[in-house]
């Protein structure tokens, strides 16, 4: 993975851009609030460095984890500070907030994965979303341990979203294993006839 050429990196950036574009519409539809999507960040890292690149290790995050299955293997992860998710879901009954967050992650992940699956002719499925609130490093390390079990080189696409007039931040992270990353590159090259 460290030896990816510039063209392959560009292809991965473009894939992340497509995923980012697919993020805005479902969030705006569910929450009826304007969203601003930042330019996605692409990181290729060993599994042990992923968690600390996504935030302070001991900071608490509300999170939703969705496995990516099918032609590719990976994970989609929603991360929010608890105070931000409370602000975002103020109108939602307290007992239902975790369900609401799970649903947001599920729909956003579906839109993003559907977008690249159609573009690259891949079959990508997603698991039932599961949620927890705890320290950021603990959450992400468990996910990358599963995705990176056979090869520790992982591709991470980080999409930051600012929601509504208060710009409430939400992060979606897509993590792919080495084989899936190579598949995305190969399919993208086929598309561009390179």
């Amino acid at each position: 993975m460290e030896t990816l050429d510039a063209f392959s990196k560009d292809l991965l950036r473009e894939t992340a851009n497509i995923m980012a574009q697919k993020t805005a519409h479902p969030i705006e539809t569910i929450l009826r609030q304007k969203t601003v999507i930042s330019k996605p960040e692409i990181m290729m890292q060993k599994m042990e460095f992923v968690a600390d690149s996504l935030g302070q290790p001991d900071e608490v995050r509300d999170s939703v984890f969705i496995r990516i299955l099918g032609d590719g293997k990976g994970a989609a992860v929603l991360l929010m500070k608890p105070e931000d998710s409370q602000k975002l879901l103020l109108d939602v009954d307290k007992a239902m907030r975790t369900d609401a967050l799970r649903e947001i992650a599920n729909i956003v992940a579906g839109a993003c994965l559907g977008g690249i699956a159609r573009l690259l002719s891949l079959k990508l499925m997603q698991s039932v979303p599961v949620a927890t609130s705890d320290m950021s490093r603990a959450i992400v390390n468990e996910i990358v341990s599963e995705v990176g079990l056979t090869n520790a080189d992982l591709l991470c696409a980080l999409i930051n979203v600012a929601i509504g007039p208060e710009n409430i931040p939400l992060s979606m992270v897509f993590i792919f294993d080495t084989d899936t990353t190579n598949l995305i590159i190969s399919k993208s090259k086929d598309m561009t006839n390179q």
């Binding site: 290790p57 608890p82 468990e142």
Partner: protein, 167 residues
Amino acid sequence: MARIIQVPTADYAIASAPDSLSTVGIGSCIVICLYAPKTKTGALLHCMLPREEYDLSNSLRNVDTAVNQVIEEFLAKGIHLPDLTAKIAGGAQMFAGVDNKETNIGMRNIEETKRLLTTLKIPIMGEEIGGSRARSLIFELESGTVTISSAQLANDDTFDTGLTKIL
């Protein structure tokens, strides 16, 4: 002056009193604190996976190879296996509903750690393992005490990092 040495994921540190070793955000990972009381020397290992089976790029990622590396360093310092005791923490399952043993990394980390320490005849003097909460810990080399905390949800929906257990 006593230092608190932070140990990142897939890494370890060895130090002696009056220093302390610390690591934060332990979920499914397993943390092994090895202690030689006579010399007040200890090691803290923060491992992600049970065994070196696939990716060999970092031997400190896995329990088996990381422990062997630390034992070598202890031996070089004149500290032998019978001098050591262990305390372990971690091996949680952060996401409820992911019950497949194949993918329950936390449980596999606990099993491998216990198997290895038993094989090496290093007694486990304390443990805070399993469950579904993340942990942070500090290992004081003056006393060999391991203090573990975890993020607890308070009544007002905020999180406090409260004391969980002293080993």
